[in-house]
């Protein structure tokens, strides 16, 4: 895995709904793909396109320069439901580098970290503030695990230490597991 940045600075896109499930992030009919690439165009498909496949005027995820808005702020229990890793693949490909919520579903969190999409859980107060200020400037420091907001206040967060190290130091989890093969073999022998 290539090393990630330590600081992510961007404006926010806000989706205030609670319980945004992975079926919303990428509907099941797009899961017939056998690769990871290009899923950004179907991210939040049913939220962004009308029944004729045209981009909706009121799409909350379009109509701005994507490179300036790479941080998603979402309601509680984000990423619940299906374990599909297609969800973080789609969000990353769409242009997001981090998602912030008060509460992120376990499997999504784990999948996101493995794909360089930072899942960031903040306290309820910071969450409320972020939900209230779409488009605000945010700077996420992964090294110090602190978020700085444009108007000067800050908030700390915690990312699972191993996942964080994988991102910061470019550690490859599969390589890490393969390096433990002697222990794995010993474990197997002891059980058989």
């Amino acid at each position: 895995m290539a090393k990630a940045k330590t600081t992510y600075t961007s404006r926010t896109v806000v989706l205030p709904q609670d319980n945004i499930d992975t079926d919303q992030i990428i509907p099941a009919r797009f899961l017939t793909t056998t690769t990871k690439e290009g899923l950004g165009k179907v991210a939040f498909y049913d939220w962004r396109y009308d029944s004729d496949g045209n981009l909706r005027d009121d799409s909350p995820l379009d109509g701005f320069v994507k490179s300036e808005f790479s941080i998603l702020v979402a309601g509680a229990n984000f990423g619940c439901g299906s374990s599909r890793e297609h969800a973080p693949w789609a969000l990353s490909d769409f242009g997001f580098s981090a998602v912030i919520s008060s509460d992120i579903a376990d499997i999504f969190k784990s999948n996101a970290l493995k794909n360089g999409l930072l899942p960031i859980v903040v306290d309820k107060k910071a969450h409320r503030e972020l939900l209230k200020s779409p488009g605000c400037d945010v700077s996420i420091d992964l090294e110090d695990q602190i978020i700085k907001f444009g108007d000067g206040w800050t908030c700390i967060f915690e990312v699972e230490p191993f996942g964080r190290r994988c991102l910061l130091d470019g550690v490859d989890p599969l390589g890490y597991l393969l390096d433990r093969m002697p222990q794995i073999q010993k474990f197997e022998e002891a059980r058989s």
């Binding site: 709904q17 079926d23 509907p27 599909r84 890793e85 579903a105 599969l174």
Partner: protein, 471 residues
């Protein structure tokens, strides 16, 4: 020795490398279940990195998600929803061939939904760690296994190393006391539990279900309950194995026989929470007051008794859900007419589920204008159901009897509802668009779904169980 919970016993038994502050535990996996949707990218990684599947003997693949449930057409071919769906099925077939993995393919008499066939074959056993690239892997916890859903990257990890990196979750125990009433099932227990703790109430926890009402459940009911633990946010749901578990498993294809069976049972009998075991959270639910439940929103915790009405929406999220569902507050649920009924999915497609549904449908007719689909969970379920003539009860009532698969649970294979339709479904997710774009899903038990098909509106099944002719 310190009293241990079932979860702790299962966990410690599989730790290859202990968890530290810096790194998660390396956990050995005894059974890896694979299906067509979440595996292709994992196999690609293996190919890119020139790795083999480390333990094909502990890996089992099946076709279910994108797989058609209609028989072959006149051209002798299955009709796939799209060329991509067909390609995905072919890809898994090829990957299994390349990596020497046993695949239950479309012609295999043991094929079915991954969480139905694992137990049926006896591949699922107490004491095992079981993973699958599917969040409902918690189903297998019903046997006293440590079973959880993983992402595709982790599918690759397990294929290559037979291990996953996993942090130990917190523990929760939920006791269900009392005796379930007539017409009330494990599905209703699950929905009542999720309504109580919330769709994120189990986040970060491994849940053990216990208590007299859980002990009284059949294995199939236990699977339904554990299946739905992920809808409360918990990756792991489990029940200590007992006589019910052992007699259900005995004689199945992949379980040990003879003296090895006896040895296994005596080991499995130690898999329970010791007296004095502690949990991060404990909860009691009185099962005797649970009545048939349905969902009225777009999150599984929006559940309420079927013979009641929707509560007032209070938050922005609830108001949006209410607007989408079009289920009016202050009006009895039965004022909502039903367009489609789906009986199936890894939650409720086993033989006992189909029997419950047939009990209500037999000798009655599905309401005109309602489309009802009954999809068995596996070929084995299909054969058993047909041997009991359940399919005739369904077909005579006007329901369609299909081939096994996930079908309308995820609506990937072409089986789906139309925009705006209200679908009463025995599956597990009522998310917006889960059963087809714009479809409004109401989750329910097989009995409630069958009763709703007959009445053509959301219906408490007990109405049919007390009538003459019912039962």
């Amino acid at each position: 020795m310190q009293p241990q919970s079932l979860f702790e016993k299962l966990w410690h038994d599989h730790v290859v490398v202990d968890e530290t502050a810096e790194s998660p535990a390396v956990l050995f996996i005894d059974l890896h279940l694979v299906h067509e949707v979440t595996s292709p990218q994992a196999f690609s990684v293996l190919k890119e990195r020139k790795l083999s599947v480390r333990r094909p003997d502990l890996t089992l693949a099946t076709l279910d998600h994108s797989t058609p449930t209609l028989p072959k057409g006149s051209d002798g071919k299955y009709q796939f929803a799209s060329p991509e769906a067909e390609k995905q099925v072919r890809k898994l077939t090829q990957n299994c061939r390349d990596f020497n993995i046993r695949l239950l393919d479309q012609e295999d008499p043991r094929r079915g939904i991954v969480h139905v066939v694992g137990p049926e074959l006896g591949a699922t056993q107490p004491g095992k760690t079981i993973v699958c690239g599917d969040s409902h892997t918690s189903t297998h916890g019903a046997f006293g296994a440590l079973a959880f859903g993983i992402g595709t990257t982790e599918v690759g990890h397990v294929l290559a190393t037979q291990c996953v990196l996993q942090r130990k979750p917190k523990s929760m125990r939920i006791h269900f006391d009392g005796v379930l009433g007539k017409g009330v099932s494990a599905k209703d227990m699950a929905l009542a539990m999720i309504a109580k703790i919330g769709a994120d109430g189990g986040q970060g926890f491994a849940i053990e279900f216990s208590g007299s009402a859980v002990r009284a459940l059949s294995m199939e009911g236990r699977m339904t309950l554990c299946n739905m633990s992920i809808e409360a946010g918990a990756r792991f749901g489990m029940i200590a194995p007992d006589k019910t578990t052992f007699s259900w498993l005995e004689g199945r294809d992949l379980v040990p026989r003879g003296s090895a069976w006896k040895k296994a049972v005596s080991k499995w009998s130690t898999l329970n929470s010791d007296d004095g075991a502690t949990f991060d959270k404990e909860l009691r639910i009185d099962a005797s007051v649970i009545t048939p439940m349905i969902t009225y929103g777009v999150s599984p915790d929006a559940a309420a008794p079927a013979d009641g009405e929707a509560p007032t929406a209070e938050t922005e999220t609830e108001r949006a859900a209410s607007a989408y569902m079009g289920i009016n507050q202050g009006e009895h649920f039965s004022s909502n007419s039903v367009d489609r009924v789906f009986i199936g999915s890894c939650t409720n497609s086993r033989l006992s589920d189909l029997r419950e549904a047939a009990k209500i449908m037999r000798g009655r007719k599905v309401k005109e204008g309602v489309v009802a689909l009954v999809v068995p969970g596996s070929e084995a379920v299909r054969r058993s159901a047909e041997a009991e003539n359940l399919h005739i009860a369904f077909e005579e009532a006007g329901a369609e009897w299909r081939l096994p698969g996930c079908s309308m649970c995820i609506a990937m294979n072409g089986d789906k509802g139309e925009p705006g339709e209200l679908v009463v479904s025995t599956s597990n997710r009522n998310f917006v668009g889960r059963q087809g774009k714009g479809v409004r899903t109401v989750l329910a038990s097989p009995a409630t779904a069958a009763a709703s098909a007959i009445a053509g509106k959301i219906t408490d099944p007990r109405e049919y169980l007390t009538e003459a002719g019912g039962q």
